[in-house]
């Protein structure tokens, strides 16, 4: 019981973020990068963003429509992240293919066909504050009482 409380307390405010670019135009990528700047300052919420490493991450931010090479690698990347984990799809490309989902394309959107997605942030590109909002909104819901939810499954 105490242990659960402790876990909840710790998980409420210390996330590691990892970041993957599955074929974006870089527009969303730089807006994700802009969230670490002093104006938006993602680190003040206890989120660690530097040195993205899937093996110690809690949150996976994915931008871009899925390109040929990423079709198999997305699942591999997802499996490398330890439980509990949250996937945030950033940008219209990641949500639906956006502007690239047209005749002649070489992409296979959306992301959610390949891995489970917890939050989608539409926009081309979304503002940094919206990305921040999505991360802060969805992560605590998934991480709270995670072990209990797993046991009841």
């Amino acid at each position: 019981m105490i242990f659960d409380k402790l876990k909840n307390f710790v998980r409420r405010k210390s996330f590691h973020v990892t970041y993957a670019d599955a074929g974006s135009c870089n527009g969303c990528s730089i807006e994700v990068l802009a969230t670490i700047c002093p104006r938006y300052d993602i680190e003040q919420y206890g989120i660690f963003v530097h040195h993205p490493n899937p093996r110690e991450a809690d949150i996976l931010i994915i931008t871009g429509c899925v390109t040929e090479q990423w079709k198999t690698k997305l699942k591999e990347l997802y499996d490398k992240i330890p439980e509990p984990k949250v996937v945030v799809a950033v940008g219209s490309c990641a949500c639906s293919g956006g502007i690239f989902d047209q005749e002649g394309k070489r992409v296979y959107p959306p992301i959610k066909n390949f891995i489970p997605v917890a939050a989608e942030v539409p926009g081309c590109p979304p503002r940094p504050s919206e990305i921040l909002d999505a991360i802060l909104g969805v992560a605590p819901i998934v991480f709270k009482d995670y072990d209990k939810k797993e046991a009841n499954k």
């Binding site: 993957a20 670019d21 074929g23 974006s24 135009c25 870089n26 527009g27 969303c28 990528s29 730089i30 807006e31 990068l33 802009a34 670490i36 700047c37 002093p38 104006r39 530097h50 040195h51 993205p52 490493n53 899937p54 871009g64 429509c65 390109t67 040929e68 090479q69 990423w70 690698k73 990347l77 502007i99 690239f100 047209q102 005749e103 002649g104 394309k105 070489r106 992409v107 081309c124 590109p125 503002r127």
Partner: protein
């Protein structure tokens, strides 16, 4: 195959803490020294040229600027200028100036983020955060002028999408005045910081001969003493109206490339001030329609020469299009001349960041 005596081949990427975009760099090392490097692309290919074929030109503008999200405006501008060349349409005098203002604002923003990723590459987070903070100001200006932070769709055939109002022009001038001393300070911190220079000076040297051979373009070439690589020298607006002079440095190392970018930021600021002071009154759009034909045009993206080849049919549809982006050339230069010979593997990452690569552009 390489027949050198190689100890270990170290792969970096496709997913790696130091890389913002997926690509694989293979470093062949002897001890800590890198003797050869290979670059493997293919993770970001979206087939944008194929999507563009058969699209009406006004839809193609939105796709062309989504080739790259960092230097979005120059793609839009070069594409439109190619169409204007094909169909003999001239932008109005006011539109020419407005194009320069937004293009240079975009360049400031792009050069700042390029330097941020270099500072993150050499692990100097403080300076990176300072620079990233200044960048937000230029993003604000872009948003105020065009309504969007990244993809602005600013250019249309024969002009620009809408006018910049006078009080907005005033805000731009004020903001530039506020940004300039800060950027000068950060430039000084980089130029005179002993530890920063230890990681940068004399690392990743690209000689003038090698830069011309590949050829390298953009700040990479200008860092090696090749000012003619700036295509703004050949752009009619910059050449005739602004009397543009390119900046270059001789050293060819990481420091030179970063400082060239800093210098170009101040140059862009002066161009914007010039443009705002002499802004002519009048229309912002000329009427015209796209004719059948084909043509080349080059523009100076923040990363170097950007080349468009477009073929249109009489209905204004794109028959054929080829885009050659600057990073394609710079990556080649980087792998062949700069990474090979890097004193350590940690420096290889910094060298790679110093050419300001944009893989999304390159693969399209």
């Amino acid at each position: 195959m390489i027949e050198k005596n190689v100890d270990v081949s170290i792969p970096i990427g496709p997913l790696h803490p130091a890389l913002k975009e997926p690509l694989r760099i293979k470093l062949h090392t002897v001890g800590e020294r890198v003797v050869d490097a290979e670059v493997e692309l293919g993770y970001m290919h979206r087939g944008i040229e194929r999507i563009l074929k058969g699209k009406p030109w006004n839809k193609a503008v939105y796709l062309a600027e989504r080739v790259c999200g960092i230097c979005s405006n120059i793609h839009c501008m070069t594409f439109i200028e190619t169409l204007e060349k094909i169909s003999d349409v001239e932008p109005t005098p006011r539109a020419k100036y407005l194009r320069v203002i937004v293009n240079e604002l975009d360049r400031i923003q792009s050069h700042l983020i390029a330097n941020v990723s270099y500072f993150l590459g050499i692990e100097h987070e403080t300076l990176a955060m300072y620079t990233l903070d200044v960048r937000e100001n230029s993003m604000d200006l872009l948003e105020m002028v065009s309504g969007n932070r990244v993809h602005m769709s600013w250019n249309v055939l024969g002009g620009v999408r809408w006018d910049i109002e006078d009080h907005h022009l005033k805000t731009i001038l004020e903001m530039l005045d506020r940004m300039e001393p800060r950027i000068r300070r950060y430039m000084g911190m980089f130029e005179h910081g002993p530890l920063l220079q230890l990681r940068s000076r004399g690392i990743g040297v690209l000689s003038y001969e090698d830069a011309v051979k590949v050829p390298a373009v953009g700040p990479v070439a200008r860092g090696s003493g090749h000012p003619e690589s700036d295509w703004r020298l050949r752009h009619p607006t910059y050449r005739d109206i602004f009397d543009f002079k390119a900046i270059s440095r001789k050293e060819g190392d990481n420091t030179a490339r970063v400082l060239v970018r800093f210098d170009e930021i101040f140059q862009s600021m002066n161009l914007i001030r010039d443009a705002i002071d002499n802004l002519p009154k009048g229309n912002i759009q000329n009427k015209g329609r796209v004719k059948a034909g084909e043509g080349f045009h080059s523009g100076e993206a923040p990363r170097g020469e950007l080349k468009y080849f477009v073929k249109t049919d009489s209905a204004g549809k794109i028959d054929d299009i080829t885009i050659r982006t600057p990073t394609r050339l710079n990556l080649e230069t980087c792998a062949r001349y700069m990474l090979a010979g890097s004193p350590s593997i940690a420096d290889a990452v910094a060298i790679y960041a110093s050419i300001d690569p944009c893989i999304a552009c390159t693969e399209g």
